[in-house]
């Protein structure tokens, strides 16, 4: 028997077809019963009254009300016709036509909820139920469809906590508002992870990744529905759970003395009830709070992330304390360091387009190395500008050297000292657009003055028998112009011939028999310089008594002296080859005449001995018998193409003019001798890079860059900036470790977990052959106990494993072992403030 479902008050038509009997004037009675009530009604006949059958009796009734305590009312009836009582052909079920509910706020169990949103679910009969709301009294009525039981479902933001069905259609619903939280700002990516550059200025309320403080704005998903007449608002709260963590699950350990700068949930805005969640003793740094949708259906809260890299902040917003609304975001602290590259225009570097301008950047391998090494420190490098500077003609003299001078393959290299770089950096405006800004001025070699004061130059000698003199550089590096005081190197040559003094080579030609005008009272002899063709007569005079004398009078000796003196000057001796050939002419017929000749010769010999001491007239000696020497102009004589900064200087001795050492140099013989050249030079260091401590240059680096040292360039940058950021601080007392971070154990101290590596000793060291503090990660305890780490007999190459070790190569081919920023240095980097240099 089929059912007919009707609702209260609905007019019900019951029809009985009469198939037999006397229809002409027959009567039909309907006996109706619903509930306890019974009634009879006469049916209205219809059809052709002349036909005995096929007439119909119809009765119309109004469906009765369903009692409040009943779900439905069933109408049963029978049809009485001419003594027959026929049973009903169907079952009529009366359903309530409407229901009623009262909504009560679960918060206090008594306040009526105005506008409680709900719908009546009758899946079969009313698949698209309308959204309904309670009135101002918190009451609502709702129509029902016949034929199916109903259920009340709360619509957002309401959630039914309890339904009191004291009466089936008069419900008392206890409900609460529960909105679905969503982030209104910042925009949360699908990954639900945000890199927050905490060292950057606080901009856009931290909502675009810049700044350590972020304003979080949350709202209810329901508020996005324009038809929602009851958006979340004042009095509506979301649960907040914030978990502070960090790299490897632990915060950095940095401790701020200023509570405002510590990672924390910032009190204020729409945040309330902040408390630490201590429910799980194994979890630290978890805080609970509530945020109210007070500001136009939105609630704001602020979180301070701190400045330590790698620290994390998980923010969960929940409609309930279970936080199962999938509304969460994790901020991870990163730091951005901008850099500006200033290469000389003669250096080849990759091009990079920034905006509408062409720039130069570090090689990809260098950047990759910097990036990978900085990743665990949560540090990113961003090129801000890369403008080459012009090497002007004026600069070339001071900066451009042959490539061979620096042992490079390039034809020319750009040399830059610390002081020169400083002057250049100071002359350039800094690129704008971001900070902190590190400026890298690049060069091929960095020969530099090692100390502030001007040291005494080093003297080195080179000796040669040819015009090319090679002088070995014993220590450091030389520059044509000293970086100390701008002075040239000095070059002094000296002949090395050792004097072998000899007297004048005096020879007498055979005596001539000649009277020379002699008379009875005097005899005249004539002494002739055979090469100079001058003569000097000597007279022997007859005394008052006796023969003409055979001895030379003093006056005659004086004549000889006067005559000989110009012949025996150094110049005359040099001109003559220190030889003197004389001839004595006079009568020589008898012994007395011959004696006069002999005495004259003897007098000449004595005078020559007296007037011309033994000397060596070697061209390498001066007249005083000192080695000849002189100074050379290095700009003229230094062969730069064959010289190297740290190996040798090659000097081409000049030989254009008489007296030039190039004419003298040769094997030691009568006319030549080896020449020794003394070079005095200031010993320069050869650096890989420089960090400036001047307050206006903090973050500026001079970097040696070669195409064969791209990884080393990265290491130098990381190393030098590492000092600034306290990995191995310049000054531990002043620029030490980040607040809250334990000072690293020194190499003489026992290390603690988790930093033990290759032994039990710490890694921080000062001095030990280097200057300042550095990191000895990789050395074993025995090596750490040595005094000088710069000596490979103590610390073999390849042993140090940290970029912050005190020395490193400049050529990638010379890299040995695995050298990276060590875990401890990364730990220190993470904790450092990178907001400024």
């Amino acid at each position: 028997m089929p059912d007919r479902d009707v609702v209260e008050s609905q007019e019900i038509t019951i029809v009985a077809l009469l198939r037999e009997g006397q229809p002409k004037d027959t009567k039909v009675q309907f006996k109706l019963k619903y509930g306890d009530k019974e009634e009879q009604k006469e049916g209205q006949l219809s059809g052709d009254p002349h036909r005995p059958t096929d007439r119909a009796a119809t009765v119309k009734i109004q469906a009765p009300a369903v009692p409040p305590d009943k779900e439905t009312v069933e109408i049963v009836y029978s049809v009485v016709h001419e003594r027959r009582e026929l049973s009903m052909a169907e079952k009529i079920i009366v359903w309530p036509k409407e229901g009623k509910l009262t909504a009560i706020d679960a918060a206090d169990g008594k306040t009526k909820i105005k506008g409680f949103a709900y719908q009546i679910v009758q899946k079969q009969k009313n698949p698209k139920p309308a959204a309904l709301r309670t009135n101002d009294a918190g009451e609502g009525t709702f129509p029902l469809k016949a034929g199916e039981a109903f259920e009340v479902e709360a619509l957002a933001p309401f959630v039914i906590k309890k339904i009191d069905k004291a009466k089936p259609r008069e419900l008392q619903i206890t409900a609460e508002r529960r909105y679905t939280p969503i982030f209104d700002a910042p925009t949360i990516p699908d990954t639900r992870a945000i890199k927050q550059y905490v060292n950057q200025p606080h901009e856009d309320q931290g909502q675009k990744g810049s700044g350590s403080r972020v304003l979080i704005r949350v709202t209810a998903k329901e508020n996005k529905d324009p038809n929602n007449k009851h958006p979340a608002g004042a009095g509506d709260f979301f649960q907040v759970r914030v978990t502070f963590g960090g790299h490897g699950g632990k915060p950095s350990g940095r401790v701020e003395s200023d509570a405002d700068k510590k990672p924390h949930l910032v009190a204020g805005k729409e945040l309330s009830d902040v408390k630490e969640d201590t429910s799980d003793p194994n979890k630290k740094g978890v805080y609970l709070a509530k945020v109210e949708m007070k500001s136009g259906g939105k609630g704001e809260l602020e979180v301070e992330l701190g400045i330590a890299g790698g620290d994390t902040c998980l923010i969960e917003i929940g409609g309930s304390p279970q936080f199962n609304d999938n509304c969460a975001v994790t901020f991870t602290n990163w730091r951005k360091v901008f850099y500006e590259v200033r290469p000389p225009d003669m250096m080849t570097l990759p091009a990079k387009r920034i905006g509408t301008e062409d720039h130069k950047d570090l090689p990809a391998a260098t950047i990759q190395r910097m990036t990978s090494q900085s990743a665990d420190a949560y540090l990113e490098w961003v090129l801000l500008s890369g403008k080459p500077f012009t090497v002007t003609d004026a600069m070339k003299a001071a900066h451009v050297l042959p490539g061979s001078f620096g042992n490079r393959n390039e034809q020319k290299i750009f040399q830059l000292s610390d002081k020169q770089a400083k002057a250049l950096l100071r002359s350039w405006p800094r690129a704008g657009g971001g900070g902190p800004l590190a400026r890298f001025i690049l060069c091929d070699t960095n020969y530099y003055a090692k100390s502030r004061s001007v040291p005494a130059p080093i003297a080195v000698t080179g000796r040669s028998e040819t015009t090319k003199v090679r002088i070995s550089i014993v220590a450091g590096y030389w520059l044509p112009r000293s970086d100390y005081d701008g002075s040239k190197v000095s070059l002094k040559w000296v002949a090395t011939h050792v004097p072998a003094p000899r007297p004048v080579a005096l020879t007498f030609d055979a005596d001539l028999d000649a009277a020379n005008g002699s008379s009875e009272k005097k005899r005249i002899l004539k002494v002739t310089d055979k090469d100079g063709r001058t003569s000097q007569p000597i007279e022997f005079v007859k005394p008052l008594m006796g023969h003409i004398t055979t001895d030379l009078e003093a006056s005659e000796k004086q004549k000889l002296r006067s005559w000989l003196t110009p012949l025996l000057t150094d110049a005359a001796r040099r001109a003559r080859g220190d030889r003197l050939r004389l001839e004595v002419a006079g009568e020589k017929a008898n012994d007395r005449q011959r004696e006069r000749i002999a005495n004259t010769r003897s007098a000449l010999q004595s005078l020559i001995t007296e007037l011309a001491p033994a000397k060596d007239y070697h061209p390498g000696l001066d007249d005083a018998q000192n080695p000849r020497q002189g100074v050379l102009d290095p700009d003229v004589v230094v062969n730069m193409a064959e010289s190297t900064g740290g190996g040798r200087m090659v000097v081409d001795l000049p030989n254009a003019n008489a007296g030039d050492p190039g004419r003298l140099v040769g094997p030691d013989n009568a006319t030549t001798c080896p020449v020794s050249v003394t070079l005095r030079y200031h010993s320069h260091g050869s650096g890989l890079g420089t960090t400036y401590k001047d307050s206006d240059l903090l973050g500026d680096l001079l970097i040696v860059h070669t195409s064969t040292g791209e990884l080393c360039t990265a290491d130098t940058i990381l190393h030098e900036l590492g000092h600034l950021f306290g990995l191995s601080p310049f000054d531990i007392a002043k620029d030490g470790f980040a607040p809250g971070i334990d000072k690293c154990k020194g190499v003489g101290d026992g290390e603690v977990d988790p930093w033990k590596h290759k032994g039990d000793k710490g890694h921080l060291y000062k001095e030990h052959g280097h200057t300042g503090s550095h990191c000895a990660w990789g050395l074993d305890d025995t090596q750490k106990a040595t005094a000088d780490y710069s000596d490979s007999s103590n610390v073999p190459r390849g042993v140090p494993e940290c970029v912050m070790f005190g020395a490193g190569p400049s050529e990638d081919a010379n890299r040995q072992g695995s050298v990276d920023l060590c875990p401890q240095c990364h730990h220190l980097m993470r904790a450092r403030d990178y907001s400024k240099f």
């Binding site: 080195v460 014993v474 260091g685 052959g769 200057t771 025995t782 103590n794 400049s810």
Partner: protein, 335 residues
Amino acid sequence: MAQGSLQIADEEFFTAPFKNRERIEDPLLAQEKDALVVDAPRKVPLDLRRTLPLAVLRVAHFAVASGVPLEKFGIVVAADAASGRVRVGRAITPTPKREQPEEPREGEGMTGEALVLDVREQVDLPWRPSQIQVSLIVRELISETMQVKLDYSPGAYRDEAVEAQRMKELQEAPLPKVYPAPAVARPGALPAYGRVEGAPPVPDEPGLFLAADRVVKLKADAPLAVKGSFRVKLPGHLFVDTARARAVPLEPKPKALVPVTLVITASKAPAPFVYEMVVPSWEADPKSGLAAGSFAIDLDKVGTLRTVPRTLFVYAFCGDQRFGPLPIGLAGEDQ
């Protein structure tokens, strides 16, 4: 060479220390003679000067200068006999910059280096009236002792009370602890103090002596023993008086505590190890100011010395006495 070799006046150490350089250096270069000339002012006025210059002129064959660079091997020692303190530092502070290691240099010829180092900075010398004895060590060479008096200029105000107070505090300061601490008494245990068997004889006149095996194995279980004896003049505060004797945990109580500083350099990896010992003396007389005794220590306790085959050069300083070098060859297995 003796103090005064540079033939300059005291004030010229601050203005033109090498005004005579070429006059001294050139003949040595020409004659190819090695020389180490060290000089210092005899007096430095504390109120007028801020540095204690030590001028060094070194002429050497290329191989020597290259193989034994002053930058690496130079060690400056400043001893203050009045306080008993010996301060040691490198003659040249390494550059703070990260540098590419220099390749070994080869060459010929002669070299001349001149430098003025500031003893005050290199050894962190207190700037107060004192008589300082300065020495320069270059591997197995040690210069003549330079005597430098630090004092105020004649016109400067001298607060005698401050000096007296300092001396009083020095006299009343706790005695230094014996270092290295004495070993358990058993034959051959190190360190040992008193009359130590095998130590050089205690000199009758003031002096300081060391002895050790000339060559030892690089890898050996036996300690690297160095023995020494001394008779030195001590400042009064280092004598053990009754009032402070209780603090000395030795029996019988020593009569004096003698600071002996060892400076150890080497033919390779020469950066100095400095070992500041405090040696007890049972032969001391406060009246004469002399203390004598001997000691034996294990150099292996100083640091990692046995790294590679090399020769150690041990110098000792105590009061106005010094000794060295004491060479100790560390022989490898194949030697």
